[in-house]
């Protein structure tokens, strides 16, 4: 079982790789919509990437309104 810290780090690593950012660019408290400037299609892509990586389903309405990586990781953790 992953710890929340591990899950958060994996989310950060996935986002860093997906958006082709230099390592260490993203932090748990970052607002990913502001920092990455992602649109609705990119949001769906990221959702697929997270679900495929963690092997879970993360209904959109559970992450609607979530904008930072740490809270996103908490929502994922509750599905692991």
């Amino acid at each position: 079982m992953r710890t929340l810290e591990q899950t958060t780090q994996e989310v950060l690593d996935l986002a860093t790789k997906h958006f082709q950012l230099p390592a260490g660019t993203l932090a748990p408290g970052d607002d990913f919509f502001k920092k990455l400037g992602i649109d609705s299609l990119q949001t769906l892509e990221m959702l697929s990437r997270l679900e495929n990586h963690f092997g879970i389903e993360l209904p959109d309405y559970e992450v609607q309104g979530v904008s930072d990586f740490k809270t996103l990781a908490e929502r994922i953790q509750s599905r692991l």
Binding site: D39, L41, E45, R49, N52, D60
Partner: protein, 269 residues
């Protein structure tokens, strides 16, 4: 007239060795409005002449990250807002009758139809894919029916076709939550026939098409007709219900909110 190749403003198709490839290519997200509808009508009108030499039709998208975001809601809102409220259902009905005729023609095509889906496949986009015999999906594809947030139901034949193929649990989950489901889940419930790696859906659709072309055309068409009846009665009722719901003021308010919004999940209420 036999139209083997066509390039329009919203889509293009090409016939090659028994396979038609239709590529949706309409900025920004392959929305199905009057422009794409007119070209889809042209596409299905070519079926009769192409059918004798066609085994498979593949429908795919040339746009990044999206198969189709569905009906063109901006156009729908603008068109509806320009006429008196009492005239809106009639205008919507004309559009629905036309798109139903197109999707019924794809559904009943005398060759095998494959939707090669990558990215977002939402609302009317999913309804287009559902008219096909098989969906081959990139593992990054996502499917949803987000219509209820706008105060209406899917109007391009979505519920009757989804019910034809899948169990009620999934149909209701999709409809009542409006959530997007990933390709793995969509395959598990029987919506997706084959899963493809990232960026591989079209290649796998072509490989599948090559296999399908090996079978006798008459047998293949008979098998399709036998296992895939078109739910005409329910499709008619869907148009009636959509038009009835469309008269409510909540619909225009929800469309306005969508058109003016810019959130990351515009498909949720």
């Amino acid at each position: 007239m036999k139209m083997r190749n066509f390039t329009g403003k919203t889509l293009r198709w090409e016939w090659r060795e028994g396979v038609i490839e239709l590529m949706l290519d309409h900025e920004p997200a392959n929305e199905i409005g009057t422009a794409m509808l007119a070209e889809l009508e042209k596409f299905v009108a070519s079926f009769e002449s192409l059918a004798p030499e066609t085994s498979v039709c593949i429908i795919a998208s040339a746009r990044k990250s999206v198969f189709s975001a569905g009906g063109d809601l901006r156009e729908l809102y603008a068109t509806a807002a320009a006429v008196p409220a009492k005239d809106r259902p009639a205008g919507v009905r004309v559009f629905l009758e036309r798109i139903h005729a197109v999707l019924n023609a794809i559904d009943a095509a005398p060759f095998v139809t494959i939707a090669a889906v990558h990215g977002a496949c939402l609302g009317g986009g999913l309804e287009l894919a559902l008219a096909c015999d098989m969906i081959i999906a990139d593992k990054m594809a996502r499917f949803a029916f987000p219509e209820l947030r706008l105060g209406f139901i899917p109007g391009f034949g979505g519920i009757p076709r989804l019910k034809r193929d899948l169990g009620n649990a999934f149909v209701r989950d999709l409809l009542f939550t409006g959530r997007t489901v990933n390709a793995t889940r969509a395959q598990a419930v029987g919506l997706v026939a084959q899963l493809a790696g990232e960026g591989e859906a079209l290649r796998i659709a072509r490989s599948t098409a090559a296999q399908i072309t090996k079978y006798d055309a008459v047998t293949r068409a008979a098998a399709k007709k036998f296992i895939k009846p078109i739910p005409h009665d329910e499709l008619r009722r869907e148009i009636d219900l959509f038009c009835e719901l469309f008269t409510r003021p909540t619909v225009m308010a929800a469309l306005k909110k969508f058109v003016e919004g810019s959130g990351p999940m515009p498909y949720l209420p």
